[in-house]
């Protein structure tokens, strides 16, 4: 059944989305996004050598948070706004989990809106990419 504004409650938890991007996944993301920064695929790149590894694109994590919200919403509405901050790095072949909760629900100019807190959590429990989203429900 499609998600509706009426049935959403503040405090609802979104189904989590697990990600464990390896180098190949990051290369696919580079091609899909057009971001070919070698920091995300070339272990010999000076900045990667300095860090001891390549790192996951911040924007990959942003896009994964987009996927989290999209999967939950199931096209029963539209994302109006989505944001995040890249607070710490994530590394390839390490799991991170995308999570979200409903923080607010309100009506504004005839639109049925819901605000979400969203974030990625690394395997050491660190919230590396906290963010927010606002979605408008169709019904």
């Amino acid at each position: 059944m499609a998600l509706t504004w009426e049935t959403i409650r503040e405090g609802d938890v979104l189904p989590e989305l697990k990600k464990r991007p390896g180098v190949t996944q990051l290369v696919k993301y580079a091609a899909g996004s057009g971001d070919f920064n070698p920091l995300h695929h070339d272990f010999q790149f000076p900045q990667a050598k300095q860090l001891g590894s390549i790192i996951v694109h911040g924007r990959f994590k942003y896009a994964a948070l987009g996927e989290l919200v999209s999967n939950w919403l199931g096209h029963a509405g539209r994302i109006r706004k989505i944001s995040c901050q890249y607070r710490a790095m994530d590394f390839p072949d390490r799991e991170f989990v995308c999570r979200g909760t409903v923080t607010r629900k309100w009506e504004e100019r005839g639109e049925r809106l819901v605000a979400l807190a969203i974030w990625t959590e690394s395997d050491d429990g660190k919230k590396t990419t906290p963010g927010e989203a606002i979605v408008a429900l169709r019904a």
Binding site: K19, P21, Q25, K28, Y29, A30, A31, G32, S33, G34, D35, F36, N37, P38, L39, Q47, H57, G58, R59, F60, Y62, A63, A64, L65, G66, E67, V69, S70, N71, H75, R78, I79, R80, K81, I82, S83, C84, Q85, Y86
Partner: protein
Amino acid sequence: MAKEFELTDEMRKAIGSASPPWTYEVTTTSVRAFARGVGYTDPVYFDADAAQRAGYRSLPAPPTYLGTPVFLPGRSHEIFSVPTEGQPIVKHGLKGLLDGGTETEYFADVCAGDTLTVVSRLVNLEVRESKALGAMLITTQKTTYTNQDGEVVAVQTGQAIYY
């Protein structure tokens, strides 16, 4: 790692400057490539019939994807694919680069078949200290995406960190 960094008048002058418009394409291939790159399994981003059943004109751009800048050799950035001509330039000399944060506001659907005209504006420069990275320059860029019907479909604000 830079120990000290100060904004110069020349850098401050760049605040407010905007790029010339550039074309970003949203195609079925580019939508699928982005969705595949993120790891989506939702057929709406891959299959035109599934997209239409879900109420879209054609394959929708996944959240956080706003088309791919048309790449022209010599006029586009080799690494980031964005246009290089006439972009706001801040000559800071810092070598390290990290992404700081991104916010996207949507005003309409973006779907395969759309051609977006994109203008990016430098809206802020700020110097901050980090224990790990030393002096950092944080640039804030606001990018406006307008579709083929003249409708602003999205505005994206992003921070880049130079150190």
